[in-house]
Symmetry: C2
Subunit: 412 residues, 2 copies
């Protein structure tokens, strides 16, 4: 039960995912079911909108609670809108942001503050909860994680990763069928999102199954990239079949730390070095080396909003972790991120826990060494056991006139 | 009923699609149900494999007929393998291909010849049927159309287009949710396949619905492209909302006929002009002009093999047109392509007819002028009425361990 006279506010921040609205739905469901007279506000475009007092009355949109929330669960993006806004340190209020924030919290009688996002969003929550504590403001602050990058520490994995991973694995399984139709030697290089952590690229390994080769070679930002190794790897695969399918993280770097996608091999008419994208650069290098047919594919933004083929496991956890965060706040907890703890890979079992928000913010969790098969440029069985349950089960949106139905708030 | 002693052979050719195996399944279903002792051969890698006598015994793989064919129906690619092989004119057998072909047809006692493919494949069928007729060979030849480009003449549309169109429309609907999360002015340019015909790019218009803006602007190869018009269009959209979502065909050309993707603005370190891709070139031009956030996305090969979200209408028609082609051949028809005639847009109703194969081969059907809204850089209601039924209904593959199950022939 929400404390009387204490309203709640929730916002979304950072890059969109296919599951962030499921977490929003889970939190709303719990907040609305706390059958009190308190209000539940939604920040339009995160903290930016809160500072401009652009707020949705969420009980107005979802008076019936969870029954009305199935559409947001399968809507990608960030229904409330997002922002990229870095708060100053709580001790430095020279530009008056915290004073404004305090006034708005008082004006709207807000006692509960929820923020769904990645690294930067946890930084925001961390600062606001520290500020509230320092100024004796009674505000329960909980962060709800989301990122397709899966790079938050402490939590076993992040909501939103499973959906993106399922899409990536599915596309690789289909691309394998596509590339295998011809008989001549060919290479397809597919670039997957992930600047500093290779989790999503590693998920391409799930396309390999008993009946299909799936992806052949995987290059992650966690391992320094070498062209000699790449060329050797390709020739080894040609010993097995003619079409080589490669997954690379956008953030792969050479031994000297320079991004492959910015290795200077491409320039515009003015001679400026361009960040071509890792796959594009590899395409040219492989063509030069072998003279064979090479194609590069950049999965790009569709991989973070492909709600038309969501992981049921991810959507379910994303919804539940939203509800869990609310439950914890109602129980008086503050200054935490809700996270996932894995009890077992198979049968897959997890539970939720709270993690100190200050420990989580601004840190990056890469793919660990024992998940990476350096010799075969692939991932290990341990990685596969970790990844597999995260993409299990399918959840599809409703369709209207052949395209998915989505939930959309009116602009304010 | 197949004529006794007359075996059948079927092949796939050209670029893969999500529906070409549904047509194969439809043809096999009909051939196997013709409960005779005749054999049904599948060419491994089209005409190339036939010339090397690389043939599958399809009754061995599908003894039970249609019951065993549900997996191929949702498998993308070209299960038998494909090729790009241009036959010489039937009158010119200087390299002996037709003599070889004749020997193979005799050796395997082939009386029925089916070929599933696009323009080039219809050219192959056209030549083989002409050769058979000129040499009094009793061979019934029928072409079964497929191409995501939808650019074959006479047929109302091509099998495979609906699946690709549904994926494109779905991705645009999701990208709209993704692009709309921030408030600053931004442009996203998405490149869709289609070198000479803009059908697939036009299908992005289906992402616009009562509840979502979907795509804002559409540029097709049928209309000479102008940067001034593009910049004007973008500013008009900014009058309505901050994020502009644009669809461009890979084949858009300037007034002077030069591909936008090869307009010379990008060169490699050796100064060679590179075909950067139309969206990439537009990204740079728009950024230079407006200084705003711009992103380019190339949908690339995933759009032609996205069986995880197929159009039920397309898969159903693709299966049926395969069966229809067989039925026609059994009735003694030869030298035709099976095609689709539309009786009504709504309720959608079609029937199949045969079209003279020699009239179909090597011709391209573009998007007609009355389907294009030049003023608003969009498509007309007439185009929408045409496109809408082609993406209707959803058909999903079975999944195993979180990824789609596919049908795969062993390599021969």
């Amino acid at each position: 039960m929400l404390k009387p006279g204490n309203n709640a506010v929730i916002g979304q921040s950072g890059g969109p995912t296919a599951a962030i609205n499921a977490s929003l739905a889970g939190a709303i469901s719990k907040l609305v079911s706390e059958n009190s007279d308190n209000k539940v506000f939604g920040m339009s475009n995160g903290i930016e909108g809160l500072l401009k007092e652009k707020l949705y009355d969420l009980k107005h949109f979802f008076p019936e609670g969870s029954d009305g929330l199935s559409l947001p669960k399968t809507t990608p993006g960030a229904a409330l809108g997002s922002c990229r806004f870095k708060l100053p340190a709580p001790s430095d209020d020279s530009n008056g942001i915290y004073r404004s924030l305090l006034n708005i919290l008082k004006k709207y009688r807000i006692g509960y503050f929820f923020y769904i996002g990645g690294n930067d969003s946890m930084d925001t929550i961390s600062k606001i909860s520290a500020f509230a504590e320092e100024n004796s403001v009674d505000l329960k602050c909980i962060g709800i994680p989301k990122t397709i990058d899966n790079d938050l520490i402490l939590t076993d994995h992040t909501p939103g990763f499973g959906c993106a991973a399922k899409y990536v694995a599915t596309v690789f399984s289909e691309l394998r069928r596509d590339t295998s139709v011809y008989t001549q030697k060919a290479v397809t290089v597919v670039e997957v999102m992930g600047r500093d952590a290779g989790w999503l690229t590693a998920a391409s390994a799930l396309s390999r199954s008993a009946y299909s080769d799936g992806v052949d070679l995987i290059y992650l930002p966690e391992v320094p990239f070498s062209y000699d190794k790449l060329f050797d790897d390709i020739q080894k695969v040609w010993g097995r079949h003619s079409d080589v399918l490669i997954a690379v993280s956008e953030g792969i770097r050479l031994e000297n730390g320079v991004y492959v996608g910015a290795d200077g091999s491409t320039s515009d008419i003015f001679g400026h070095v361009k960040l071509s994208g890792a796959a594009k650069v590899l395409e040219e290098k492989i063509r030069s080396r072998f003279g064979c047919k090479v194609r590069s594919v950049e999965l790009n933004t569709p991989q973070r909003c492909a709600s038309h083929i969501s992981s049921a496991a991810d959507i379910s956890e994303s919804f539940d972790i939203g509800a869990y965060a609310v439950e914890c706040a109602l129980n008086g907890k503050t200054g935490f991120m809700s996270g996932i703890v894995r009890d077992c890979d198979s049968p897959y079992k997890t539970h939720f826990e709270l993690f100190d928000i200050h420990s989580v913010a601004n840190k990056v969790k890469g793919v660990p060494a024992d998940y990476i098969d350096m010799v075969n440029s692939f991932v290990t069985d341990k990685a596969l056991s970790y990844l597999k349950p995260l993409i299990s089960g399918e959840i599809y949106p409703d369709y209207s006139d052949g395209i998915p139905k989505h939930f959309i708030f009116p602009k304010i």
